[in-house]
């Protein structure tokens, strides 16, 4: 197997004096979609922030594409989409894309291509502030795609989208993975787990499962991933 895209060893993070991540160790294979699943407050966003190098950590190692997370050499290869859309609402969709393309040092045409990928090519002239929540989320995603990153870190990219758009975005994620990109997608909706190549189930700052969806189903003896998560959580509690 090729070298892991992300290697995390004994990662511990405290926020506001409370432990949020309690010693995580895992690898993420390259060229796949890894789903980071878990309830709200389980530490998903904090973990993603660690991967892009914006989170202050207490201890542990985070290696991304062979480099320490957040190191300058990685900034051209890692794309990060925060949970709430981080774009300029007082600029048009196209102006946002062109700006982030310039910042990512992307070639000409990258902005238009990214807009097409998220299905917003016809909205380039619209002010972002006038768009719906789901459209803003897609603009934010396009602003990360514009640099053609090797690793895409997406924090709940499909929240608030209708089923058709969600299906289209997941198709896009698979296209990106097929062309060699590694994607890490967080979600608290279990039905999205089935669309991932690999799952990391997070609960209360600990990993309760790190496997393919099939293996998670097999080990828990249920076809329903929601039910599987519940069983894993119960097992965890019984141990603790």
């Amino acid at each position: 197997m090729a070298r892991a895209a992300v290697e995390v060893t004994n990662l511990m993070v405290d926020r506001l004096g409370r432990p949020v991540l309690r010693g995580l160790t895992f690898d993420i294979p390259p060229g796949q979609i890894t789903g980071l699943l878990g309830p709200s407050g389980s530490g998903k966003s904090t973990l993603l922030r660690c991967l892009v190098g914006v989170q202050r950590i207490r201890s542990g190692d985070v290696t991304v594409l062979g480099q320490a997370a957040g190191s300058p050499a990685l900034r051209r290869s890692v794309g990060y989409v925060t949970q709430s859309p981080s774009v300029y609402s007082d600029l048009s969709v196209g102006d946002n894309l062109r700006y982030f393309a310039a910042v990512a040092r992307a070639p000409a045409g990258a902005a238009d291509r990214a807009l097409e990928q998220v299905g917003l090519a016809d909205r380039a002239g619209d002010l972002v502030g006038n768009l719906s929540g789901g459209q803003k989320a897609r603009v934010s995603l396009a602003c990360a795609l514009v640099g053609s990153p090797t690793l895409l870190v997406l924090d709940e990219p499909t929240v608030g989208l209708d089923p058709v758009l969600r299906r289209d975005l997941w198709a896009l994620f698979h296209t990106l993975a097929d062309s060699g990109a590694t994607l890490i997608v967080s979600s608290h909706v279990m039905d999205e787990a089935a669309r991932c190549d690999r799952l990391l189930l997070l609960r209360d700052g600990r990993i309760v499962a790190d496997d393919t969806p099939e293996q998670v189903r097999l080990h828990t003896g249920t076809d329903d991933l929601e039910e599987a998560f519940l069983r894993l959580a119960e097992k965890e509690e019984a141990v603790a």
């Binding site: 926020r15 506001l16 892009v52 190098g53 914006v54 989170q55 202050r56 957040g70 300058p72 900034r75 051209r76 890692v78 990060y80 925060t82 709430s84 859309p85 981080s86 774009v87 300029y88 609402s89 007082d90 600029l91 102006d95 062109r98 700006y99 982030f100 310039a102 910042v103 990512a104 040092r105 002010l127 602003c143 640099g147």
Partner: protein, 245 residues
């Protein structure tokens, strides 16, 4: 540092400003209207208008850019765009220089309109010519910008950011020598005014008027303002942390 990123940032900030028509109007019209107001408040005393009017041309952009930058940078911090930018190849210096460039353009427009009205219609005197006045006003605007950037790190909301105006700007205004000559102040106040950068901006403008040209003394005043700007900018850059809790 990358010229493309810096220029793209400057263009982006200007585009944001331009999309806000009311802010642009206020930015351009208010200083000019205040100069007109001042002129007629001192209708019977042209000498007073001349001695206050010139320094005010430098203080207006200082105040405006302080406000605009502190709110704009706070928005970058709270909207997540700053965090996103810091995960890209963009350097902190690219961001700061982009802002500086954009606000320098805005200042030139602001001071241009206010000076045009003041020097023609209102008969404000500029013995050393208009160029040094604009130069000092520009340096002051960038000082306001860098202080605004710095305080935005200490504000969690726009309400707080706006409150930094009376906290940071008004004391400098009271002590800068515009209301009372600095050499006639109590020792303690004079010492304080000696370390506040706005004092040097006003000194420079006053000297420009009394000495009639851009003398070495004016140059020194300008250099102090620029040095303070660089220090505030460096401190502000230190608050742009990639890693946060």
């Amino acid at each position: 540092m990358s010229a493309r990123t810096t220029l793209a940032t400057a263009a982006r900030v200007l585009r944001q400003l331009r999309s806000d028509h009311r802010t642009i109007a206020l930015l351009l019209v208010v200083p000019t209207l205040l100069m007109v107001l001042l002129r007629y408040v001192f209708d019977g005393s042209p000498v007073t208008f001349n001695s206050i009017g010139l320094p005010l041309l430098a203080i207006f952009p200082f105040v405006t850019m302080f406000l605009v930058t502190s709110v704009a940078m706070l928005r970058e911090r709270t909207s997540g765009t700053l965090e996103r930018l810091l995960t890209t190849p963009m350097g902190k210096l690219d961001l700061l220089m982009g802002y500086a460039l954009a606000f320098a353009v805005a200042t030139l427009l602001q001071v241009g309109v206010a000076s045009a009205v003041a020097f023609t219609w209102l008969n404000l005197e500029a013995p050393g010519g208009v160029a040094p006045v604009v130069l000092i006003a520009l340096a002051d605007a960038l000082l306001g910008m860098s202080l605004g950037l710095l305080v935005s790190a200490f504000a969690a909301t726009e309400f707080q950011a706006v409150q930094f105006l009376p906290a940071i700007v008004l004391p400098q205004f009271l002590l800068c020598g515009l209301l009372a000559p600095r050499d006639q102040m109590l020792d303690l106040l004079r010492w304080i005014s000696d370390v506040l950068p706005l004092s040097y901006a006003v000194d420079g403008m006053t000297r420009l008027r009394t000495e009639g040209s851009f003398t070495g003394q004016v140059g020194t005043d300008l250099a102090v303002v620029v040095a303070c700007t660089v220090v505030a900018l460096a401190l502000g850059a230190a608050t742009l942390r990639r890693r946060t809790a």
